[in-house]
């Protein structure tokens, strides 16, 4: 059976199965909007009332009451229509709808915790203050509000601003009083909101109230590094901690009391851990900064300080005290630009301070002396979200500096980040098997730092053993070559080159790609069948070997770094992908002498793997031949190497006139696997 026959069959079956709900829809709409035509409404109502639509029942009843002319429309409005919405967020998120007399019409639990809090309690007809009192009581009893998590957000949403703020201040006082317990003192955040569809949609999607959605949006507005998704899972206490610790004051949000950090190790302990790890004494440090943050999927203490000629940055897990991320580099300010500041040297020696990296530095500092003299002084201002150059311009700045075109590179990642108290764009991309890493000032667009690395992969189970061997030795030679002949050489490649030999022999100690994959999926709470575009590769980071595990779930991109020896999740990152990659075309350039290093196994993305495959040109030719076109007949050709059902395919798209053709071509055999035509 052909695709179109199947589709027709589906269409037919659905067309026959559609129920008729129009009469009931019209009746519900009429009864709730046209209060003016009360009498005729009543007749309609009786004719069509089905009782199935429970949520319209109150409305319907009201219409009948009005019709009987005992009470006026005002009665209906006062008693049955929602006048205001009160949202309580702790971690349980609860919405309470009240009428004009502050009588509760409905209490809606927005998540599972909220259901536990409400239990069997029925608040309909109670006064709002009684209801809130009972809910807070239940939250205290159930441990949602306690000495380790003491913060609550109260939001009032109504059209009458005066009434909203009156009710808000009444409830805030009430809750604040309830949270002055013997065991702890609470912290109450309060705000009035005017919810719109955006807020409602966000709230529904993430199982929170529009109030919390508004709070998160305000936080993102102050600090654009956060994403809605990452913050939506945090409790109000955690959000409150982030607000406190970063000294963020949000417009129109009042905060009483301060958030509890009892669940965490505390700033003093975190500092101690960082100083111990850096092996510097408390007296030797300067410009110390600590703040709480949400990164790597957990609450962390972000610590920055300087000591000697180095600048340190730590992310410390706020619960366990584990060091999640460490980074050290030459202090930009300390190192005078007259000396010919060497950004490559500085990044390379970052790992050097932790031990290990020798030799690379000298090589790099001869080859590369004059790049970026101006860096490290720009910016300094932070807090404002406006005036950033945007990801596109950051990308362009990095590409210009590298002397590459966007079409030359793949795996482009641009991320807004904060470094040294200012905002920067981290721009990463691959050209062949060379990894570029840029830091672009988010305000001025200046290149602050850059780094270039030959990517090495020592795969176990490498199916192109001979080639991979060549790749490794080739790139080792290449790195030493580049450190003399090339002004943009890097220490990173020197290190990678010198160690790669031993890695190849050592993969036996590692947990293996499969275990790494399992660890990442378990952490994400997903099954392998839920995700697509899985890429696992062995990589080196901060002086140790890690598995980089990447996959897509829906359009969410997960990126994990798994310790290759212990299997621990070292870092993780979750990104909503809202663009379609057109990358993958770099394989040809990269595959020459270095790309073969990545050809192992099934991973390594698109770069370098093209050697075994028919190539984009042959794939394109096969698709065009099948469609009966010459290349000149078609436009908008896109070719992408992709993995589908465990094999590599070329996905080819092109247009001819109003039709859009899509082909899947087996990358090894050149066979057409599937094709589709759309107008």
């Amino acid at each position: 059976m052909e695709n179109y026959e199947i589709e027709e069959k589906i269409n037919d079956e659905f067309t026959k199965a559609v129920p008729d709900v129009l009469a009931s829809v019209l009746s519900d709409i009429n009864s709730c909007t046209h209060e003016r035509n009360v009498i005729s409404m009543e007749e309609k109502k009786i004719k069509h009332r089905t009782n199935r639509w429970v949520k319209w029942a109150a409305c319907a009843a009201a219409v009948i009451l009005i019709a009987s002319a005992v009470f006026g429309i005002g009665f209906y409005r006062t008693n049955y229509s929602t006048d205001m919405m009160i949202a309580l967020d702790v971690n349980p998120s609860i919405e309470i709808r009240v009428n004009r007399k502050d009588t509760v019409l409905e209490v809606i639990p927005k998540n599972e915790d909220a259901e536990a809090v409400i239990g069997n309690m029925d608040f309909k007809g109670s006064k709002i203050d009684v209801t809130v009192n009972a809910i807070i009581g239940s939250m205290l009893r159930n441990g949602y509000l306690s000495d380790i998590s003491n913060s609550i957000l109260i939001s009032v949403d109504g059209t009458d601003d005066k009434r909203s703020s009156e009710l808000l201040s009444k409830l805030t006082d009430e809750v604040n009083g309830l949270l002055q317990t013997d065991a702890f003192t609470g912290s109450v955040l309060s705000q009035t909101i005017n919810s719109n569809d955006t807020l409602k949609n966000l709230a529904d999607t993430y199982g929170i109230t529009p109030g919390k959605a508004q709070l998160i949006q305000k936080i993102i507005g102050n600090d654009p590094r956060y994403t809605f998704e990452s913050l939506s899972g945090l409790s109000i206490n955690q959000l409150n901690l982030i607000l406190n610790s970063n000294k963020l004051a949000l417009d129109d949000v009042d905060v009483v009391g301060s958030a509890s950090d009892r669940a965490y190790i505390g700033e003093i302990k975190a500092k101690e851990i960082a100083l111990n790890d850096a092996k510097v004494a408390e007296n030797d440090i300067r410009e110390y900064r600590i703040s709480m943050d949400y990164e790597h999927g957990t609450m962390v203490y972000e610590i920055e300080f300087k000591s000697g000629i180095y600048e340190y940055e730590y992310d410390i897990n706020a619960v366990t005290g584990d060091i999640v991320e460490r980074d050290s580099e030459y202090d930009d300010d300390h190192y005078d630009s007259e000396h010919g500041k060497d950004t490559h040297g500085s990044t390379g020696s970052g790992t050097g301070t932790a031990g290990g990296n020798t030799g690379g530095n000298s090589g790099s500092s001869t080859g590369n002396t004059t790049d970026n003299t101006g860096s490290g002084t720009a910016g300094g201002a932070s807090g404002s979200t406006d005036g950033y150059i945007g990801e596109e311009r950051a990308k362009a700045a990095a590409l210009t500096h590298a002397g590459l075109k966007e079409s030359d590179v793949s795996n482009m990642i641009v991320k807004l980040d904060r470094d040294d108290g200012r905002y920067v764009y981290d721009v990463e991309f691959l050209q062949g098997n060379t990894e570029y890493d840029y830091e672009i000032d988010a305000v001025t667009g200046n290149v602050l730092k850059y780094d270039k690395d030959i990517e090495e992969h020592a795969h176990s189970g490498n199916n192109t053993g001979g080639t991979a061997g060549n790749g490794t030795s080739g790139s080792t030679g290449g790195s030493s070559g580049s450190s003399t002949g090339n002004t943009t050489d890097n220490t990173g490649s020197g290190t990678a080159g010198s160690t790669s030999g031993s890695t190849a022999g050592n993969t036996g100690n590692y947990i293996g790609e499969d275990s790494a994959k399992v660890a990442a999926l378990a952490h994400a709470g997903l099954k392998e069948s839920d995700v697509t575009n899985m890429i696992v590769k062995l990589d080196r980071d901060d002086g140790r070997y890690v598995y980089d595990v990447e996959f897509l779930q829906g359009n969410t991109e997960y990126d994990y770094e798994i310790d290759a020896v212990s299997g621990n999740v070292l870092k993780y990152d979750k990104d909503i992908e809202d663009h379609v990659h057109s990358g993958g075309s770099t394989g040809n350039t990269g595959s020459g002498n270095t790309g073969s290093g990545t050809a192992g196994g099934t991973s390594g993305g698109t770069a370098g793997t093209t050697g075994n495959y028919i190539g984009e040109d042959s794939a394109k030719a096969a698709a065009l031949a099948h469609a009966g076109f010459k290349e000149s007949d078609v436009s908008n050709i896109k070719i992408k190497l992709d993995r589908d059902d465990g094999r590599y395919i070329y996905e080819i798209e092109f247009r001819n006139g109003r039709y859009e053709y899509e082909y899947d071509i087996d990358a090894l055999t050149g066979n057409i696997i599937d094709f589709d035509i759309d107008d």
Partner: protein, 190 residues
Amino acid sequence: MICAISSNDKRKRHDSDKLDKLICSMASGSTDALAEIYEETKTSVYSFIFSILRNTHDAEDVMHDCYIRLYYASQDYRRMGNPMSWILTIAKNLSLRKIHDGNRTVSENADSSTEGSIGGSADDFTRETDDRITAMQCMEKLSDAERSIVTLHAVSGLKHREIAEIMDMPLSTVLSKYNRAMKKLRELLK
């Protein structure tokens, strides 16, 4: 190939301009416009909701709520050239809400022979097909996303690009899921 092209013309494409105008008159309170929109879109809306909820009772409930929501939300509608996306996005959100709220008639893991599924029981409209397997039964074998993608393509005649937008997925994912789903259906309907 020729067949594939001509089938596109047979497929129902919604007239965006007409829908745009209807939504605007609906925004000014016209229930006639709503009725017309309903006739125009009911199969698309219902089938998409059903593809998410897989239960006729729940799908009917959500379909009902969806048209009421459309009526009231039309005030906020901004002409963006694709009214069908707007309508189907609302349908999707309400369906997901239904799943989230958990007050569903039949549990999610109900097998395909439950009374709520189209074509699963000996309902009158499937009787005529008798021993033939219905496409609906085969759709049960697809993943949630695959089922929705195939439905949007087959019933609403949306382009993969538009489906990607509604489903919040990259185009490449939609394409590969669509192809995989059609492959499965071809096997099942042999």
